[in-house]
């Protein structure tokens, strides 16, 4: 079998290797980028086409208990958007909560090759892996939730950071998780009694610990374990007018813990936590303040959470936020609290162009992207499906790259909100290199996936080729051509296999599931095991043995050894 491929004459954008629209060949062998291929290699003629590393999506709710609960709750979301079975592909449904096969195909068709499920309840992560196993083509990983975990809160309240580190390491190995996810720290435990936490220094009922201590403690654990990704944080007060102040405090609360050249905290879907104002009628953008802070420091990364004007579904571990959203809008509401760990809420939502709040939210996401100067520290997401479905990424790209695209959209929006926004005055337009950075290069680097997000020798041969010429097309004016091209990749190559051709699936392969094989010294491990065997029975309604997920449960397990990844 000839597993060699040459992508010939493409116009390569590979920001990690300082390549900006150079015509060059990319050689592939054995699923990796190599220096040269033999004459018998299959050739792809990429003349006049944009060649980039495959997309790396750092935050997208595609798999697990709450995603599936949303599918079950919302048959009406699927009914008009379906895909028929073909000789190669399974049937499925789409729109805001696609079924698993459809999820893989749709990402691949857009040239994405790695996607992260950012929030899985540890006790139910077996479910997440079952779904990830059923998502074809793309590589994936999942982030277990720790910010409301009883063991974590108890360790940190006692000041036992080492004990907490041993626990987190065991949890990552046991759940095959990749990074530490924190959602509304302490707030979801409070929600289990019907309450919430509204400030970094509020005490979590019955646990005597504050969100600040939880975040700082887990930041320290992250350093001890040398995990490939920084702590991934959804702050308290998401969705509340005025919350931008808390977001800045959250970013600031680990500043002293930052290591040189590394992020100490990632604030996810930052749009939702960049609200200024006292209430919905006085809602304003806090993007400028957030961006100013991010620009001033070095230890923070963020992702956008960009609003798309469509009907979609909100789903998050932030149970109390979802209850509030339900009360505000009256739509159906699903809630699942998970014992001793976390929770989830789901509420359908419609983002409307003429709505003052939605227009303000839309502007916030873009303001963040345009005001944060370093494209290596801001990533493009829609927090799929919370702010919009991932299939809208090409549209977001067009807004980033073209002021005209933003203006054309703004014409149809709530003009009161547009007038109060900074966005009309922002002229910045992303270049191809910056676009590639925020959708691939930076996200891969942030995740510590050293073989992803770039096309250097030794990288995984995940390549996307688009039918747009970045040397000839002016994205500022001709943004529609860029958007159209990004919707359907001319070629998507995954591990050296051509999986998409002209936006159609031509081959289905199985992707890998990355997880962090975190370990601590034997003495810490033994101490942990004795503590766990005492407490586990008390905390959970299942046995510790049954909590652990064996490696062969993953269709293609790809452990990452922490510490060796950057």
């Amino acid at each position: 079998m000839n597993d060699e491929l040459i992508i010939r004459n493409g116009i390569v954008v590979d920001p990690a290797n300082d390549i900006d629209r150079e015509v060059m060949d990319i050689a592939i062998r054995g699923g990796k980028i190599v220096r040269k291929a033999s004459p018998s290699a299959k050739i792809i003629d990429a003349s006049g086409m944009l060649v980039m590393p495959g997309g790396v999506d750092i935050h997208s709710h595609i798999a697990g208990s709450k995603t599936n609960a949303a599918r079950v709750m919302r048959p009406e979301d699927h009914v008009r958007d379906f895909e028929r079975k073909t000789a190669l592909t399974r049937s499925g449904v789409g729109h805001s909560i696609p079924s698993t096969f459809t999820t893989g195909y749709r990402y691949a068709r857009m040239g994405y090759t790695t996607v992260i499920e950012p929030a899985t309840p540890p006790m139910k992560t077996r479910h997440t892996h079952e779904e990830l196993n059923d998502i074809p083509i793309i590589d994936k990983a999942c982030f277990p939730l720790f910010g409301n975990n009883w063991h974590v809160m108890e360790y940190l309240e006692k000041g036992d950071v080492d004990g907490c580190a041993a626990y987190i390491a065991w949890m990552l190995r046991s759940t095959k998780g990749y990074a530490i996810k924190i959602v509304n720290p302490g707030g979801v435990e409070a929600w289990h009694w019907g309450g919430n936490i509204r400030g970094l220094d509020w005490e979590v009922p019955n646990f005597g610990i504050t969100p600040r201590e939880i975040i700082r403690g887990l930041c320290k654990v992250n350093k001890i374990l040398k995990l490939p990704h920084t702590i991934h944080v959804h702050p308290n007060n998401l969705g509340k007018p005025g919350n931008y102040l808390n977001t800045i405090k959250t970013m600031d609360c680990v500043k002293d813990l930052a290591e040189e050249g590394r992020a100490a905290i990632h604030i996810t879907h930052c749009q939702f936590t960049s609200f200024k104002g006292e209430d919905w009628s006085t809602l304003r953008s806090g993007a400028e303040e957030i961006a100013n802070y991010v620009n001033k420091v070095k230890h923070v990364t963020i992702d956008m959470g960009q609003i798309i004007f469509t009907a979609t579904t909100t789903m998050t571990a932030d149970g109390p936020f979802e209850y509030i959203l339900h009360q505000l809008q009256g739509r159906k509401w699903h809630n699942t609290d998970v014992e001793a760990e976390t929770g989830a809420g789901i509420v359908p939502v419609v983002y409307k162009r003429k709505n003052f709040v939605n227009t303000t939210q839309w502007a916030i996401g873009l303001e963040l992207a345009l005001l944060v100067k370093d494209p290596w520290r801001i990533y493009m997401t829609t927090d799929h499906p919370n702010a919009g479905p991932f299939t809208a990424y090409p549209r977001v790209i067009s807004w980033l790259m073209s002021k005209k695209a933003r203006e054309n959209t703004m014409k149809r929006l709530n003009q009161g909100a547009v007038k109060k926004s900074n966005l009309p005055s922002l002229d910045r337009e992303y270049s191809f290199a910056e676009m590639a950075t925020v959708t691939r290069a930076a996200t891969a680097r942030a995740l510590g996936l050293k073989d992803k997000g770039h096309l250097g020798i030794g990288a995984d041969a995940d390549v996307s080729i688009y039918g747009v010429n970045p040397k000839e097309v002016d994205p500022s004016n001709d943004y529609r051509a860029v958007r159209k091209a990004m919707r359907r990749a001319a070629y998507t190559i995954k591990e050296g296999e051509i999986v998409v051709r002209d936006g159609e699936i031509v081959k289905v392969i199985e992707g890998k599931t990355f997880w962090a094989d975190a370990r601590v010294p034997d003495d810490m491990e033994m101490k942990l095991q004795s503590e766990l065997s005492e407490k586990f029975q008390d905390y959970y309604t299942i046995q510790a043995e049954n909590y652990v997920i064996a490696e062969d449960y993953l269709a293609r397990s790809a452990p990452i050894i922490p510490g060796g990844t950057r």
């Binding site: 599936n68 048959p75 379906f82 399974r90 449904v93 139910k124 509401w333 929770g343 309604t541």
Partner: protein, 439 residues
């Protein structure tokens, strides 16, 4: 694992009987038999104890109306032929198999352009229909154990149907914030004074088929509205004001409901009212609701079907993509209308369980059954393929009634020559594909 003479004790075994999926069983195995099942309830003991009874030992085919012993290869080919030729085949059952088998089932249903449905259609389907409209405020069972000070069993009888539920997860359990029975109040709402009702602090007996009115009355009181009827659901209307007070004055309330609510008149709207009540109660205090799923992996069937197709049961692939409309695409209704022209039945006994007209129609079409045991359905099937018992002779993934996934263990070897359903289904799928390619 402990070895004592020629006995082996296997710990942390997940029970393959009801939706409780208790995972603390200790099974003692000797000479490929189950000797004892520690921590197992009576229902579970009965399943382990009858593992060898009524087993189908070899595949059977009906040739010229007579059942003849055959081998798997022939039985699989025969089944594949029927399914590939059928114009509207029904693939029914699934709740007593593993997720691994369910996934193959979905793929097979898609390949043959048929309808796949699980027993949700005949028990908790109404609950899911109501969730589509209202959503659901729920939790995992450990949350109940830790926090609940008020537990209501409505239209269900866990003493008989989920024997360890109360001790492991609810009224008699010990949690972080509730130390036991004394710190909890138990209310039972039912039409009869059941064994569970007898254990309650308060038993509310309502008239049959009046659950909707009862729930509506509580919702009215919660809204601060006055009731204009003196008697509701067979009770004085003042009773509902009292009940509402108890509900809002707890710290953490949970309603568990069963077929008494899903299968009495009103069906999905009974659950609609219950889900709406629990949602409304959350404006006053913390309140949750959970269905008492009967089979050990019916929740798993809903999960697998939903992530693979978007829908939790009753999925029609006849036009090449998933379509969903219970009442239309649900197995029992399809059978009742005589819409299906072939049926694959797995680990279920529809000829016994379906309403008469549905069972009659099913009996008149070719049925292929995969089951460990003889049933009424196997006795009228065109093809019978014996399978192993998952959770005893084969491992597999299941989902507890609250959506927590667990792994069933393989404890002993199956009877000689009997295959797991995953293998049988894969073989049928392979054969169907070959036939379809040929067409």
């Amino acid at each position: 694992m402990k070895i004592l003479s020629d006995e082996l004790v296997i710990k942390n075994v997940v029970c393959p009987f009801c939706g409780c999926c208790c995972d603390d069983l200790e099974i003692t195995v000797s000479k490929n038999s189950i000797v004892s099942a520690k921590n197992a309830c009576a229902l579970s003991q009965a399943k382990f104890g009858s593992q060898k009874e009524e087993r189908i030992s070899t595949p059977r085919e009906r040739i010229d109306g007579k059942p003849l012993e055959t081998n798997y290869e022939k039985a699989i080919r025969h089944s594949a032929r029927i399914l590939a030729e059928a114009r509207y085949p029904l693939l029914w059952g699934w709740s007593c198999t593993s997720c691994e088998a369910q996934k193959i089932g979905v793929e097979l249903a898609e390949e043959v352009g048929g309808v796949i449905d699980n027993t949700t259609s005949t028990c908790h389907g109404p609950g899911l229909l109501a969730v589509h409209d209202i959503g659901e405020s729920s939790c995992t069972l450990g949350e109940v154990r830790h926090r609940a000070d008020l537990i209501i069993y409505w239209g269900c009888n866990p003493v008989h149907a989920h024997p360890r539920h109360m001790r492991r997860y609810s009224v008699q359990s010990e949690g972080r914030f509730r130390k036991g029975r004394k710190e909890r109040k138990m209310i039972v709402v039912d039409v009869r004074n059941t064994a569970t009702a007898k254990m309650a602090d308060e038993f509310i007996q309502i008239e049959p088929n009046s659950d909707y009115e009862a729930l509506t009355a509580i919702r009215m009181c919660l809204k601060g509205e006055e009731l204009e009827q003196e008697k509701i659901a067979g009770l004085p209307s003042t009773r509902f004001e009292q009940l509402m007070d108890e509900l809002i004055n707890c710290d953490y309330g949970v309603i568990f409901f069963g077929l008494g609510l899903t299968m009495s008149r009103g069906k999905s709207r009974n659950i609609d009212a219950a889900l709406s009540l629990v949602r409304d109660l959350n404006s006053k205090t913390k309140f949750l609701i959970m269905p008492m799923r009967g089979h050990f992996n019916v929740a798993g069937a809903n999960e697998v079907f939903a992530w693979q197709t978007g829908y939790p049961f009753a999925i029609d692939f006849s036009q090449g993509y998933p379509q969903y409309n219970p009442g239309d695409t649900s197995g029992v209704d399809i059978a009742a209308r005589g819409d299906c022209d072939a049926a694959l039945v797995i680990a279920s006994d529809p000829i016994s369980n379906f309403p008469l007209d549905a069972a009659k129609n099913l009996s008149s079409i070719p049925i292929m059954t995969i089951d460990p045991h003889e049933t009424v359905t196997t006795s009228v099937s065109e093809v019978v393929m014996p399978s192993t018992m998952v959770g005893i002779e084969d491992e597999g993934t299941v989902y507890r009634m609250d959506g927590v996934p667990l792994m069933l263990k393989k404890l002993i070897e199956p009877p000689e020559g009997v295959l797991p359903d995953t293998e049988i289904l894969s073989a049928i799928l392979k054969e169907v594909r070959a036939l379809n390619r040929g067409r």
